[in-house]
């Protein structure tokens, strides 16, 4: 916003100033370093100066009728008959990049016709004229038959500079040559005088600066073609700097100029232009005359920006003319034909001398070009006389140097080496060749015959050299292509990320698309393995990266348009299968109607032309089977029912007299029996027809709705009921069978029109505003957007079922409930739509982008049709089933979840809330509250909650105590104190006899005790360092640090219980640099995981020994971590994983396949342990926190299908479906 405002104010100030310099100064000062802003302002000024504005002339209709808007910008183009100075304009004869050329009549001192060129606005006339005057003397000195003389210059009354030149009635040289099919030889003959003309000008001290075909005209004098160079002195006078060239020309003309521009002119600071710049442009002209294309082609310029174009001119080495000819493919036939030469012969003709002549003129380094235009001409003449030319193939070493410097980033070390090796070989053979050739030259006079032999040999050497170069180039190209593909994959990935973060509507789908492409590229990349091995240089996105991004996109609720139909107005069949559209083209005076099947997009009815004019409506409705189309006629009171199968009008209905107000909307009932019309916009009359009753012509007024559109009515599913919101707070139920009002429902909302039935007909869905809210907002501030509500109302019982808040303004609503009852789409006239999931309460916005008149789910409830003036759209919507949020039925005060535990079957969840002395038990599927348990220890910290395997007991591990609830019994907490233990408890093993074993350490001596009896089951009987003690869930194993203060290296020991027999032993993670913070045993005791800090411990970031599911990270800084998995049986290292932010919770899936670790940065990282594969990360808690968040807890459901986490900032549990994610990702090739 601020950007455009800033640009606006600078622009408005700048246009007050007259000269471009002043403007440019102002823009420069105002924009400072902000190049983007500057670019914007420049573009605005350019557009302002553009005489060919789109805004000239009316937009539709006949301009001569006078009512159309005209433009108040001063038109620059002068009309014929206008007198400019001493000249009378006769006719426009051309328009160039920076001006318009007229043929003009000079009356004094002599009467003659001249060419008069008026420079476009935007330049300071005084300066232009001053520069012209400075060169005038030199220009006047020029007198050459191939130069059109510049006669005069001045300023028009409008203040625009103009130039007067000798009138040349000719065509551009390239056109002349092609039109007259000149042979290469004839072309060279015509080119020579051009060189002489330029030479003449150079001798008089005039540089042309803008040599191009349109400035070299060929005119016939006495039947002979004579080239004339025009526009001398104008480029200089108008001082076309780069910016101006772009500013004053349209794209095509920019290209036209740029192609002939010398490398030094393409320098940003081009003060230093000399005659050699013209030599370059002559070279380009010659190149084009021979090959039909310019050295740097238009295509190369087309997509490039200014800077890129200039870089191309400065750096791109063009192919030799003969090479270009052989590359032109199909076009070669045409190019040869206009040169009256066989294609093969043409390339032969050009190869050799002409190649080198042209390339010498085109040298990037001007000191290597011909020194003068005469030298160029002389070499061409030598070629024509079969004499050796001065130009020669550049030496191999020179070219190699250039090759390497041009390709520096791309040439790999290996390629460079190969190049050098080959190069040496080439240099030596080449030098021999050079020696030989000079010898030949010395004897040239007497040994003419030898010359051809020499040429042949040279050609062979060149061919060989070309082949080597081609091979090298190919090798480099292959490697370049690989790199480019990898870059492309990376860029698709980055784009996907950017699109998602930007979050515009449709972002989800766009991002997934991009990721899909990135994955395709990734899977094709051949150097993938290499890059993955050396990840620091990885350009190619990795699969986990792509998956993580895809997961993030998949979690975004969103919709995008998959199809769109035009039409002034639309009608959707009540089942969402057919779409009727009416189109009118007022300018063409045509119109028509069509009906399409929305899914297949197939047209089932299409009428236009005269036939359509007879039935053309202003409102449409389509029956459920698509066979019947209702068209409201322009007379305002009749409706034609059209049979779409035979295009016949099957019946004409009429509106009752009392309902003829403007504003109409129509719909069929779902069974097709009823047709309902709403007439009027305010207090619209509802008019109904029973189509089964063949005798009914006039509709019956059955009621009135406060506002249109007709969507504020709803047919019941069984064809019995019709409902609408009558007054603001009442719903009328109308019986279709009895033909009278059945019931009035008073609802606790101020309704705004949106209404629908559930598909079983028992529930009404309505939208409105809370009455209280509306009252308080009052009339003082009517524009204030109030929170709307969606209400589900039980019709039978007359009570509220559920209520959801929406974010739509208080405007008439359209509403449609999907047939599967899962989602509601609520729209309003302005085009904004809210899609609400009745399952999760989540909603996301869409925007139709124009006025909205109809909203309808498709029959399968998966897509949405929105329609209004101009367009109808079919939306594909994301189904938010990958992530489910279970809002818990909480009591007041229960706001933040500190711990939760899933019951063995994952049907229930036990939740401890911060500061609440109860532990709640909830149904996981619904969030419903089941019961609650006293929690006398709520004030002291919990390490974790866990159910016993049978689910009949719940355990809470706290500071030196464990609480135990018997859920089947009295549910009173039983408290077991473990005072001697100086560690929190993090593991418990359950034996089949009901015994529970916990491991801990007493004064650094590891021990396992029977929780209920307090007996010691096993003890190490020695003080150990870092004495973490874990008991496996089945109570069969104990894993502990097994390091006395003396032993080294430190180790972890796995022992059997209760015997204490050593099963395996392996080195501990802890060393001088990092500390071990966690030990976990995977389900079924397959692996032992030890997690520790990666690298040196950061100050204040030590991880306290954590609980199951939680590592309490204490510091403020993120501490990267690493974890090692060991095979429990063998003690062999199995795998290592790592993360970059302080580790929080560590959990295995019940089958032991997946490992999930949450981090302080809010991410949950997921691995497939069985496949040793990193899967993805999921940002479960997006809010950035500087403090460790203990409530960031995670768990797997019993079947391992879902990853469960606490919600951020609300008392809810979120479930991420791994099963669905896996399926969605597999579709993108990102499965596992």
């Amino acid at each position: 916003m601020s950007d455009l405002s800033a640009a606006r104010s600078i622009f408005l100030r700048a246009i007050e100033l007259g000269s471009p310099d002043e403007r440019s100064e102002l823009v420069h000062a105002a924009c400072g370093d902000d190049s983007e802003l500057r670019g914007r302002v420049d573009a605005l000024l350019k557009a302002y100066d553009d005489p060919d504005s789109f805004f000239d002339g009316p937009i539709a209709g006949d301009a001569s009728q006078g009512d159309a808007p005209t433009i108040d910008l001063p038109k620059m183009s002068e009309r014929s008959g206008t007198v400019v100075g001493r000249y009378k304009l006769l006719q426009e004869i051309g328009e160039g990049g920076f001006g318009v050329v007229y043929m003009a009549q000079q009356t004094e001192p002599v009467e003659r016709k001249v060419a008069l060129k008026i420079i476009k606005p935007g330049m300071d006339s005084r300066q232009v004229i001053a520069r012209f005057e400075a060169e005038r003397q030199a220009l006047a000195l020029m007198d050459h038959q191939n130069i059109a003389r510049v006669l005069d210059a001045g300023t028009t009354e409008a203040g625009l500079p103009y130039f007067v030149m000798e009138l040349v009635k000719g065509v551009p040289i390239t056109k002349y040559c092609d039109d007259n099919k000149l042979t290469p030889r004839q072309r060279l003959d015509l080119f020579l005088p051009v060189c002489r003309a330029i030479q003449h000008a150079h001798q008089k001290g005039v540089i042309h600066r803008d040599i191009k075909p349109s400035n070299v005209l060929v005119a016939l004098y006495d039947g002979c073609p004579v080239p004339k160079v025009i526009d001398f002195g104008i480029a200089k006078a108008t001082q076309q700097r780069l910016t101006e060239r772009t500013m004053f020309t349209e794209l095509g003309q920019v290209i036209g100029t740029f192609e002939y521009m010398s490398p030094e002119q393409a320098e940003m600071n081009q003060l230093d232009i000399d005659t050699r710049s013209d030599i370059y442009s002559l070279g380009v002209l010659l190149y084009e005359l021979l090959t039909g294309t310019t050295p740097i082609t238009q295509n190369q310029f087309r997509e490039a920006g200014l800077v890129e174009m200039l870089r191309t001119i400065r750096e791109t080495e063009p192919p030799k003319p003969s090479t270009r000819l052989s590359e032109t493919g199909d076009a070669l036939a045409t190019i040869s034909a206009v040169r009256q030469t066989e294609p093969v012969r043409l390339a032969q003709l050009v190869r050799g001398d002409l190649d080198w002549i042209v390339m010498k003129a085109l040298e990037k380094d001007r000191s290597r070009r011909y020194e003068s235009a005469n030298d160029l001409a002389a070499d061409i003449e030598r070629h024509l006389h079969q004499e050796p030319v001065l130009a020669a193939a550049p030496s191999a070493s020179y070219r190699m140097r250039k090759f390497v410097s041009r390709n520096k980033p791309a040439v790999t070390t290996a390629a460079l080496l190969a190049l050098l090796l080959l190069g040496f070989g080439l240099v030596s053979t080449y030098q021999a060749q050079v020696a030989k050739r000079s010898e030949t030259r010395a004897r040239l006079a007497e040994q003419d015959a030898k010359q051809s032999l020499d040429r042949e040999q040279q050609a062979r050497t060149e061919a060989e050299e070309d082949r080597v170069r081609a091979e090298l180039a190919e090798a480099t190209a292959t490697s370049n292509k690989e790199q480019a593909l990898d870059q492309l994959a990376r860029s698709e990935y980055e784009q996907a990320r950017a699109v998602r973060l930007l979050g515009e509507p449709g972002a989800r789908f766009q991002a997934l698309d991009l990721l899909n492409r990135a994955e395709e590229l990734r899977s094709r990349s051949s150097i993938q393995a290499m890059l993955e091995a050396n990840s620091s240089e990885a350009v190619l996105p990795t699969q986990p990266e792509l998956r993580s991004e895809a997961v993030a996109a998949l979690l975004k609720a969103d919709g995008h348009v998959t199809h769109q139909w035009d039409g002034m107005t639309h009608g959707v069949s009540p089942n969402g299968i057919f779409l009727g559209s009416l189109w009118i083209d007022p300018a063409a005076m045509s119109g028509g109607m069509r009906v399409v099947d929305v899914q297949s997009t197939q047209r089932i009815y299409d009428e236009s032309g005269e036939a359509a004019k007879k039935v053309l409506g202003i409102a449409l409705a389509v029956g459920p089977d698509g066979k019947r189309l209702a068209a409201f006629q322009t007379d305002g009171h009749t409706i034609k029912l059209i049979d779409t199968t035979n295009h016949k009008v099957e019946r004409t209905l009429s509106m009752p007299e009392k309902a003829t107000a403007s504003g109409r909307d129509m719909t069929f009932s779902p069974d097709g029996r009823w047709l309902l019309v709403g007439s009027g916009i305010l207090n619209a009359k509802l008019v109904l027809w029973d189509l089964d009753d063949g005798t009914q012509v006039e509709g019956k007024i059955i009621g009135e709705v406060k506002q249109m559109p007709v969507a504020s009515t709803a047919f019941g599913p069984h064809g019995k009921l019709l409902a609408w919101a009558s007054e603001a707070q009442e719903v009328i139920l109308w019986s279709l069978l009895d033909g009278k009002e059945q019931k009035k429902l008073g609802l606790p909302l101020r309704l705004d029109g949106g209404i629908d039935f559930s598909s079983d007909g028992t529930t009404l869905v309505v939208h409105g505003f809370d009455r209280k809210q509306e009252g308080s907002a009052g009339k003082d501030n009517p524009s204030q957007i109030r929170q709307g509500s969606l209400l589900l109302w039980d019709i039978q019982d007359g009570k509220e079922i559920a209520r959801y808040s929406t974010s739509l303004a208080k405007l008439p609503k359209l509403l449609d409930l999907s047939d599967d009852g899962r989602r509601v789409a609520i729209g309003q006239l302005t085009g904004s739509i809210d899609v609400l999931s009745l399952e999760t309460g989540e909603h996301f916005p869409l925007n139709h982008g124009a006025m909205l008149q109809t909203i309808q789910w498709t029959a399968d409830s998966k897509q949405l049709i929105t329609a209004g003036p101009g367009k109808a759209k079919l939306w594909q919507l994301s189904d938010a089933n990958v992530l489910k949020r279970r809002t818990l039925e909480t009591r007041s005060g229960e706001a933040t979840i500190t711990r939760f535990a899933l019951s063995p079957e994952s049907k229930e969840v036990a939740v401890e809330f911060a500061g609440v002395s109860k532990v709640g038990l909830f149904e996981l599927g619904s969030g419903r509250r089941l019961t609650e348990l006293e929690n006398p220890s709520s004030a002291s910290p919990t390490t974790w909650l866990t159910f016993v395997p049978g689910g009949e007991q719940l355990l809470r591990f706290g500071l030196r105590e464990i609480l135990l609830w018997n859920l089947d019994g009295d549910r009173k907490p039983r408290r077991i104190e473990l005072k001697e233990y100086n560690e929190l408890f993090y593991s418990v093993g359950f034996l089949s006899d009901g015994a529970m074993l916990v491991g801990g350490q007493k004064a650094y001596v590891p021990e396992v005790i029977n929780l209920l009896s307090g007996e010691s089951v096993w003890s190490r009987e020695k003080r150990m360092l870092g004495a973490s003690v874990r008991v496996s869930r089945d109570g069969q194993l104990v894993v502990s640090h097994d390091e006395t203060f003396e032993t080294h290296p430190r180790s972890i020991a796995v022992r059997k219980l209760p015997s204490g027999e050593l099963l395996s032993q392996f080195p501990s993670f802890s060393n001088a640099w990092s500390i071990s913070t966690r030990i976990e045993i995977s389900p079924e005791n397959r692996w032992v995981l030890e997690l520790g800090t990666a690298g040196p411990i950061l100050p204040f970031s030590g991880h306290a020994m954590g609980s199951a599911g939680i590592v309490n990270a204490l510091g403020a800084d993120d501490q990267p971590w690493e974890a090692v998995l060991w095979d429990t049986q063998t003690g062999v290292e199995y795998w290592r994983v790592a993360g970059n932010s302080t580790a929080n919770a560590v959990v295995f899936s019940p089958d032991g396949r997946y490992l999930a670790i949450s981090q302080r940065d809010g991410k949950v990282l997921l691995w497939d342990v069985a496949a040793k594969q990193e899967l993805f990360n999921w940002l479960a808690w997006p809010q950035v926190t500087s403090q460790p968040v203990l409530s960031h807890q995670i768990a797997f459901t019993a079947n391992g299908d879902e990853l469960v986490a606490t919600d951020e900032g609300s008392p809810a549990i979120i479930l991420l479906s791994l099963k669905m994610l896996k399926r969605e990702l597999a579709e993108m090739g990102l499965g596992w």
């Binding site: 000024l45 557009a47 539709a60 007022p586 202003i618 403007s662 504003g663 101009g870």
Partner: protein
């Protein structure tokens, strides 16, 4: 007729949501007029956007646009948007025909009568206008009024309730901005 007068007076009384209701009404009237003309007038004639708007006003209020300025300003605000839709819709259709979307011969003859601007340009203008409206809604509105209703800058200023100088600045800027967008 009653509806429009009623809505206009509601707007006058300061109910902004009433303006929303005006739009469908005006749109419908315009399209109604276009369709009616289509059915009754000879082919070959063109409809003029500005003339349509003025006729719609006459039909909807029973008054001439030249009288009672206060009342017509809201109407024109709605009409400019409605007319833009109609023209853009026509342009889209034309473009589709050009690309061979429809094959009916009759229609191909119809397109011989062109919009004065190429449909591509008109569609680009439509999009650019939407973008402009997001940032400088008032400037976009001036363009609409000027362009689709044919009001003078002074009249547009009155419709929008801004000074003439402001309207001119909006117009000058919007024109340059749109042009630069179209040139992109």
């Amino acid at each position: 007729m009653a509806d429009v007068t009623q809505i206009l007076s509601q707007i006058e009384q300061g109910d902004p949501s009433a303006a929303e209701e005006l739009l469908p009404l005006v749109y419908e009237e315009l399209r109604n007029l276009a369709a009616a003309k289509l059915a009754h007038e000879k082919p070959g004639q063109t409809l003029q956007a500005t003339a349509l708007v003025h006729e719609a006003y006459l039909r909807l209020t029973g008054r001439n646009t030249n009288e009672c300025w206060e009342n017509r300003r809201h109407f024109f605000a709605a009409a400019s948007t409605a007319m833009q839709w109609i023209l853009v819709e026509a342009a889209r259709r034309k473009l589709r025909l050009k690309r061979g979307g429809d094959r009916k011969r009759v229609e191909l003859e119809d397109i011989a009568i062109p919009l004065n601007k190429s449909p591509e340009r008109l569609l680009s203008l439509d999009e650019a206008l939407e973008r402009l409206a997001l940032q400088l809604p008032e400037a976009a509105e001036v363009v609409r009024l000027r362009y689709f209703v044919g009001l003078s800058i002074e009249e547009a200023a009155d419709v929008l309730g801004v000074s003439r100088a402001t309207a001119y600045r909006h117009w000058t800027f919007a024109k340059a901005w749109l042009q630069s967008e179209l040139d992109k």
